[in-house]
Subunit: 445 residues, 2 copies
């Protein structure tokens, strides 16, 4: 279908790679779609079609083509757990989770009460995402509604798929960061009505975690989720042992950590639980039944000494749980999905497991999209999806060039190896360009 | 002392930071020397003096000064375990140690039989070191003497402090990589006579590890070490559990893995043992008594899933063992000491320990120099030492700039925090210049 001529239409030529199924459950090479010399037609921000250049070009004889020779084009990356207010405290020294919150996080979140400051940080944060090829993110904010407005306003300017919500916290934090069950309910409701479904923006009800919310607050979060079943629920789960023990003390009537949320109706198919390191079999089973989702945050789990997420348990045949990747900046140490994949691989290796590059990039693209129930809109290159793309240079540094000399031919096996080299050696320099809904952000590196 | 006028003399101005003691054993801030506005006088590659600019400049009224405003100048980094032939297989997928050797390492080492190929790789490798601010390295080669010549020839051109030696392997490897006890002895002896003490070059007798050397070969390595007590002994120790078990089978009469080497006189104050992850208390005690040294290789230990090195055991009061850092490329995933420190920090965190940035940079500079018994020549800025320096830009990326906004003043506490940010967020882009024995390599980034 050739679109109406007054709609903006563009064409991108290059090597395209995306996923059509989950490589954790199907033979890997059957889950990947690779077109060595492809042409993608984009109209009004939507992928119209993608095929080989030779087959498609004759249909569009007049179209001007943007070519990326030697590059690999993937779906834009999806980061399903990241704290924008913590951008400036990335790489802060010396603490594990609970102390880290007190020493670094809370004072920094307090600064975002000032909306103009929040806007400055939100803008910087979104530019960092784009620099790293990330086009969709599920983002934590602060307790202040204006910090949510700041993020959504900046995201709207860039037409990015951002999901976020006001942080709910009514205890165990400094006074200046506390709301109440009632204000958290009212403020969240107003924000949902204002932002959910505005352009590409979506809302997530966001209790920080069980330690900083009373039962009353979690109850009202559940009420809100019932009133707006279409919004997300985003929180932390079972990140460190000390935290798990404290949650057990605070909620003595809950069977386990997940059950705290479950009792309030917060364990749903649109719920995303970050970390999920110390889960029992029962908790995995319950997440699987509820079709809930886990954000695996490798760089953060190592940096805060949290522990080793067992992805093989989430990706088991019996208790399958959808998993995506979170950079978890500022507990995480990078906005880069390459570095996130790098440390995901290392966490697997420490447990005697392998995480292939196809699995790793699946998590960073279609896996992330599925975790957000957005795989009808993003995550791969199916016609009709939004044209979020990242253009990668697998030979951007002298070391990557030497390392990838063995991949002279463009067989899929070689491409898979190039992607692995990117996960181990790559950073934002390898991101040549990022497309958001068809619009190009050309990057300086 | 103003040197003779026909000797090349130069002056560098900037913020200098180095160590004068071990921060693992002394109050950290007493082990570091920081000069905010310093001047270093270098003559014939040797540090003549370093003091504040105000005090020193009047002594050298005519001297032309190279200034690095906003930069931090540290001693050149010391990498005490790295395989130059494996540069091209960095980031190769999916194996743990023993399989990794068979699948990737051995075939690649075979290519270095061709000396011109070895020269090409050696040259690339040394440039990578300089790009990353590393001026001294203890390097593994291959079984072929010409691969040692290739490295030393290239290092000599650059006047770098490189220590290396022919790999000894007479079993459990492909035929094309095997020597014999006799040829390994003879070839090593010739190489020692040719290279040890030539300019800044030094020799290390290098049995790969107990699995690939027979008792006869280890015996002759010990004989050689006695004949040339001044050379180094460099090998691997206790990297993975499967390896430890195999060594126990191969050497049933040895008490433990270290004892295999000890029986042949290879546990000395100039011995460097890479990894040392699964050591008993007895082995730590023996290493301490013998004044031996450990190369801690964080990125490799995670990438190959080897395990978590317990630096707190090596740095205990009772059994103190000197420790330096090894990038261990190609099992390691980066030539960067920042990235190495980053993952060292994470390994400590996973064990509930903290590794401060001062400890981390001590390991990368004076700690490494002490591990090589070279602290009379390199490792800090004492007058009379060789002028190996690295000039760092702690604000080289937008993210580092934002992160380091909190360090507006140049107090030592702020500098320590900037260094920590570099270990977490830095890479070779932060290396503005590297000086090798006073000679400047200005880097493009």
């Amino acid at each position: 279908m050739i679109p109406n001529s007054n709609i903006k239409i563009s064409a991108i030529r290059g090597s395209f790679l995306d996923f059509i199924a989950d490589p954790f459950f199907y033979p890997e090479l059957e889950t990947v779609r690779y077109i060595d010399d492809g042409l993608m037609i984009v109209s009004a921000g939507i992928i119209q079609e993608l095929d080989t250049y030779d087959r498609l070009k004759p249909k569009y004889p007049e179209i001007s083509v943007t070519s990326y020779p030697g590059m690999l084009i993937l779906p834009g990356f999806v980061d399903i757990h990241v704290h924008y207010p913590q951008t400036e405290i990335i790489g802060s020294y010396g603490k594990q989770l609970l102390e880290w919150l007190n020493k670094y996080t809370f004072p920094t979140e307090g600064k975002l009460k000032d909306k103009s400051y929040a806007k400055k940080i939100a803008s910087f944060f979104l530019e960092q995402l784009l620099e790293n090829g990330t086009t969709t993110a599920l983002v934590l904010t602060t307790v202040y509604p204006q910090s949510v407005d700041a993020l959504f306003e900046e995201a709207k300017k860039r037409n990015m798929r951002i999901i976020a919500g006001k942080m709910l916290m009514d205890r165990n934090a400094p006074d200046y960061l506390l709301d109440t069950p009632e204000t958290s309910y009212e403020d969240s409701k107003k924000l949902i009505q204002k932002w959910h479904g505005q352009g590409r923006l979506l809302y997530a009800i966001t209790p920080r975690f069980a330690i900083t919310s009373t039962s009353e607050q979690l109850h009202l979060a559940g009420v809100l989720k019932q009133e707006f079943p279409d919004v997300y629920l985003h929180t932390h789960l079972s990140e460190q042992q000390q935290e798990v023990e404290l949650v057990a003390q605070l909620f003595p009537n809950s069977k386990d950590y997940l059950d705290v949320y479950d009792k309030f109706g917060l364990v749903t198919n649109k719920s995303i639980f970050a970390h999920s390191i110390y889960l029992s079999d029962y908790e995995f089973k319950r997440l699987s039944e509820a079709d809930s989702n886990i954000a695996f945050c490798p760089t953060s789990n190592l940096f805060l000494g949290s522990g080793l997420f067992q992805i093989h348990r989430a990706k088991s045949e019996q208790n399958q749980v959808q998993v995506g990747l979170g950079t978890d900046v500022g507990g995480g140490t990078s906005f880069s999905m390459f570095k996130t994949d790098n440390e995901a691989y290392k966490i697997a290796q420490l447990q005697g497991q392998n995480l292939s590059s196809l699995k790793a990039f699946y998590l960073a693209t279609l896996g992330g999209a599925k975790s957000l129930n957005l795989d009808d809109k993003i995550g791969n290159f199916n016609a009709g999806k939004e044209a979020d793309l990242v253009v990668l240079n697998p030979r951007v540094t002298p070391l990557l060039k030497l390392r990838n000399e063995r991949n002279k031919s463009h067989s899929v096996i070689n491409i898979v190896d190039e992607l692995f080299a990117l996960t181990i050696l790559g950073d934002e320099r390898a991101v040549k360009a990022t497309y958001v809904a068809g619009n190009l952000t050309l990057l300086a590196h």
